[in-house]
């Protein structure tokens, strides 16, 4: 019977093509709009490192001004001072730990024909690569010894390696960075976590860096730092004084394997802050936090307000489209009252009628879903074009989303079809069969 209902639905859709077109476009537009915004939200709130997001923790310590709390006292500062992150690094109380900051530099290629290259960099610890599961094409990250002995080593991104070495294995070769020779120890494969969780402070959806160098080279002034710096207390003169200041500009991540480890680490942090209080630092009440990846993305509100707002609006839009469909289906099915009466006279039970009209609704839903998918694809292309770099990589449909689109269309249309179908099934045959 199913194929028979499908055929009847098809005939009905084709014969009343104007009405069908109206319904399919309404559902298509509704689904298309909803899916566009859902996809953007979905990608913005995606887990960038699902295999480890529960074990990676961002460290926050409340080192701020006793008179004027950071973020109105809602959250402790979003970065650490150089002093604190260096101390935590030295303590080595976590399974893995990484201190980092954004950096930049100029690479002077060996080839005199090539122009110098300004690169975005990250200054980080050796554990960065193993903590964040960074994939390598050539070589690997540097060792902790390299960190301690402040070696001039560098890890290149695939693009940088392509530019400088034509994509060949460059491990062991040297590059001139800000006037110093750095030895290449590894080349990263394409790696663009979205959101770029490991540093939200400089843009959650920015691209990952061109080069990676040991963090302590910043203190040695072998690489220039960039990124956000936030101070509440005047600093002394010179770079040494800046490093010793209460300015926050470093980010600190730890990898902790079990909840117990996390508990222990938090204890350690509290003890550390207690200790620091004796030196007149940390005058605010203790508020140290360990946030795992998803918690951190949430407190930093990486999903843009605009995106959430538009998702809410687009769902309301979808509801309008569905109300539209309910109305049109109702009109259509009630317009078929004589046919329904006749089918009952010819032996159709309510269940068979119900199946027939629900299947017709579902067909319209699937058509609407397919149209919605096309529109969502176009919509995402449009969003990408409109927002530019900001939306790079945040506007692509995957299989999940495609299935969701058709599923959503199907379910919502069937829901929209329920009332009209129910009305259709309750048509009294006797009244319909007399010719008017």
């Amino acid at each position: 019977m199913f194929s028979y209902y499908l055929r009847l639905a098809w005939i009905s859709i084709i014969r009343h093509w104007g009405l069908s077109l109206l319904m399919v476009s309404a559902i298509g537009l509704g689904i298309g709009t909803a899916m566009t915004t859902v996809t953007v939200n979905y990608l913005m709130s995606a887990n960038p490192i699902p295999e480890k997001s529960q074990q990676l923790f961002y460290v926050q310590l409340d080192s701020w001004d006793v008179n004027d709390p950071f973020d109105d006292g809602l959250n402790p500062p979003d970065q650490l001072t150089f002093t604190d992150s260096s101390n935590l690094m030295r303590a080595k109380q976590a399974f893995r730990q990484n201190v980092q900051a954004q950096a930049f530099g100029v690479i002077e290629p060996e080839d005199p024909e090539m122009l110098p290259l300004i690169v975005n960099g990250r200054a980080n610890s050796a554990d960065f690569f193993s903590m964040f599961n960074v994939p390598f094409i050539y070589g690997s990250g540097w060792s902790s010894q390299s960190d301690e002995s402040k070696e001039l080593v560098v890890v290149l991104s695939k693009e940088t390696n392509d530019k400088l070495f034509g994509g060949k294995d460059s491990v062991g070769k040297s590059i001139q960075l800000d006037g110093n020779m750095f030895r290449v120890v590894g080349v990263i494969d394409t790696w663009q976590p979205k959101p770029r969780f490991y540093d939200i402070t400089t843009g959650a959806f920015n691209d990952s860096e061109d080069i990676f160098v040991p963090f302590h080279l910043i203190a040695d002034e072998k690489i220039s730092r960039s990124g956000n710096t936030n101070c509440w207390k005047p600093t002394g003169d010179g770079f040494k004084a800046f490093l010793a200041s209460e300015c926050i500009w470093t980010q600190f991540w730890v990898e902790l394997k079990t909840p117990q480890d996390k508990e222990d680490y938090l204890q350690f942090l509290n003890a550390y802050v207690g200790e620091q209080k004796q030196f007149g630092r940390f005058q605010r009440p203790i508020d140290n936090r360990l946030s795992n990846v998803m918690q951190w993305l949430e407190t930093q509100e990486v999903v843009a307000d605009d995106a959430q707002m538009m998702m809410a609006m687009s769902f309301m839009f979808l509801i309008v489209c569905l109300l539209n469909t309910v109305g049109l289906l109702l009109a259509k099915f009630l317009g078929k009252a004589p046919e329904i009466g006749l089918r009952q006279a010819l032996g159709a039970s309510k269940i068979t009628l119900f199946s027939q009209y629900i299947i017709e609704s579902a067909c319209i839903g699937i058509l609407g879903g397919v149209l919605g998918l096309i529109l969502a694809y176009l919509g995402l292309k449009g969003v990408e074009g409109l927002y530019g770099d900001y939306m790079q990589g945040l506007a692509s449909l995957d299989t999940n989303m495609a299935l969701l689109a058709v599923g959503l269309a199907l379910v919502s249309t069937i829901l929209a079809g329920l009332y009209p179908t129910w009305r259709a099934c309750n048509i009294q045959p006797a009244q319909q069969l007399k010719s008017q």
Binding site: E339, A345, G347, S349, L433, K434, S435
Partner: protein, 233 residues
């Protein structure tokens, strides 16, 4: 065999009660051709709707082929309509979206016949009413008489025991009406019981037996008792 005993049908609206059938009694035997006449509002259509299981009755007893219709639920009535009853209407009531083949196919689908059986029955019945060559046409491409023939083909496709016709020639000119009536007579001769509601006295005469309905009652039996006793015996 169709037996109605003291059937009452009361329509209840907000403030008016209409007694459409009052203690309606009727027996129609196998192979009969009964015409039902009566003035407008006499209850003919209500009778036909109840006989066709399209409507339920308020009280009384109605046996169709020995089965108590009052005990059937909606599904049961649907099944019985599909298996035992064929309908012909004044307005033909073909589904405008479907071609002739698909129109005749409708009750066969509900009956659950397989594809081969359905095809065979559709072709046979369209052949019987002389429209086999126009299977792929839409109802709107046919004349009234032709449409009614398709409706008859559809009614016969399930080989019903009873054929209920409601003013089958009401929308047809006299020539076409004659054709349709001849077809009905032929069908009756082949064994199908026919109950035909009409207000055309001439047409009614062509039936084997005529009853008249007035104020919701059978007021007169044109052909009387003996046959009934015979049938019961």
């Amino acid at each position: 065999m169709l037996v109605m005993k003291n059937i009452n049908k009361i329509f209840q609206t907000a403030d008016i009660q209409t007694h459409a059938l009052r203690d309606f009694c009727l027996q129609v035997n196998e192979g009969d051709f009964v015409s039902v006449t009566g003035p407008s509002g006499s209850g003919k259509t209500t009778f036909l709707n109840i006989a066709g299981l399209l409507e339920t009755y308020s009280n009384g007893e109605f046996l169709l082929d020995g089965e108590d219709v009052g005990k059937l639920n909606d599904n049961g009535r649907s099944r019985m309509r599909n298996q035992k009853i064929g309908f012909i209407f004044q307005g033909f009531n073909l589904i405008p979206d479907l071609n002739l083949y698909d129109n005749v196919d409708v009750p066969l689908r509900y009956r659950g016949f397989n594809a081969k059986e359905r095809k065979c029955r559709i072709e046979e019945n369209l052949q019987r009413v002389g429209l086999a060559s126009r299977m792929k046409h839409l109802p709107s491409q046919l004349s009234g008489g032709q449409q009614q023939r398709v409706a008859i083909a559809r009614a016969l496709a399930t080989s019903p025991r009873f054929l209920l016709a409601d003013e089958p020639t009401g929308n047809l000119d006299s020539e076409m009406a004659q054709g349709v009536l001849s077809l009905l007579e032929e069908i009756n001769q082949q064994g199908t019981t026919i109950i035909m509601v009409t207000h055309d006295a001439q047409l009614a005469q062509r039936a084997k037996r005529t009853i008249q309905v007035k104020d919701g009652r059978v007021s007169e039996l044109a052909i009387v008792a003996p046959q009934i006793h015979q049938a019961i015996a």
